[in-house]
Symmetry: C2
Subunit: 239 residues, 2 copies
């Protein structure tokens, strides 16, 4: 870069302008199939004919970027008040074939059972894809997806965000399945359970698993009070 | 929001445009004064007469946002290849008095001794402020500063970024001073040392502290090999 700077300017007239968009990586955990899925829509741009892309839109004049991301998510999924985390901007010149469009990526994590396609409003084809079966996406969306998946893995390892993806009462096997699916690793059963035991953030429930062929397993719930105690002690949630 | 969406658009003509800027929160650790400082420049906008602001500039046509942040930092401090971390966008309509300017905040962390004001090129007054003595800044820069300081605290607690702010060989007292200053907390000396001992990421050096009135303390260095071992074992750096 030239090192030139113009921040001492006293007016904005003539300043370089861009189009700003938001793109949401909507991760859905499918408990039954043990799959991490992504919600994609068919792209309509001539340049990306037949390709799929992330859910996004251009920022409008009276909204913040976060409001724009919420608007997109609500329109496409019918879900309100979904947790959205800002991840990163993507600003390479040339990333959009029609002009300088800079995008801000968010990720969201939902239980796939909670989700219902907002069919009535759908102007574009939309569907869930297993993250292992994603082909070449439109724009730089493969790169955005990869960065957001890394962020999700990090969050899942360091914060108890995964529990919202399970039924309220779950078995340790269900919990391990969730972690293995999202993190794309395999855990030793004994090590995994020891880590959880050491953190002491679960409470055992009275009931046992129903409708299973094998010996029914114990059910657990995440204990927010115990978690608060862990944090107050200066310790961390870490899987 | 209305829930309206236009991502199926096939053209960008008429799309809402904005000015995009970068703002850098440059944190400097001052070992001698035991102070966390911020580099600020005098703002020249009529609306913010006499106020100080973060180092920033408007994105140019041929650069990425990261390149813009590096350009700003290099111009103002003379420092190249400084670690910059993207923190968050700030996009409230009305945050800039002259138009719709959305900014992306970065933070950077440097040893204040390494820094030399790039005086020759300075078009604006610039100086370091103790973070405890920051008044009302221009724009929403107090909010940006607060968000970036939180991010810095989190990083310092979870990753060994602090060691780059100390001399290569340091005493445990120097290390504790650094943590107490940036995190704005006081540590119990024994607990602090026990945490470090448990992580086993320091190596004891042969020399001892020079030129001190009191009994000279042992010197340590951060051991990157030991740190790698810690991480490979699935453990974490955590203060």
């Amino acid at each position: 870069m030239s090192g030139k700077i113009e921040s001492s300017r006293k007016t904005l007239s003539g300043a370089y302008q861009v189009i700003l968009s938001v793109d949401c990586v909507v991760f859905g955990y499918d408990e039954n199939d043990k799959e991490l899925k992504i919600l994609l829509i068919k792209n309509e741009l001539e340049e990306f004919k037949g390709k799929w892309s992330l859910l996004g839109d251009i920022l409008q004049s009276k909204e913040t970027l976060e409001e724009a991301a919420n608007r997109v998510l609500q329109f496409r999924t019918g879900l309100e008040d979904v947790y959205l985390e800002e991840v990163q901007t993507f600003s390479k010149p040339g990333r959009h074939p029609l002009g300088r469009v800079i995008t801000l990526a968010y990720y969201s994590l939902i239980k796939i059972d909670d989700y219902e396609l907002n069919v009535a409003k759908l102007d574009l084809e939309a569907r869930w894809f297993n993250i292992k079966e994603i082909g070449e996406l439109a724009f730089d969306h493969n790169e955005i997806l990869a960065v957001c998946h890394e962020r999700l893995k990090q969050r899942l390892r360091e914060q108890p965000v995964g529990f919202s993806l399970l039924p309220r009462h779950f078995t340790l096997k269900q919990l391990q399945n969730l972690y293995e699916t999202v993190l794309e690793v395999e855990f030793d059963k004994r090590n995994f359970r020891r880590k959880l035991k050491n953190m002491d953030v679960l409470m055992e429930k009275d009931g046992i698993q129903q409708d299973v062929a094998h010996r029914p397993a114990k059910l657990y719930a995440f204990d927010y009070d115990k978690y608060e105690t862990l944090i107050r002690k200066g310790r961390h949630f870490a899987i």
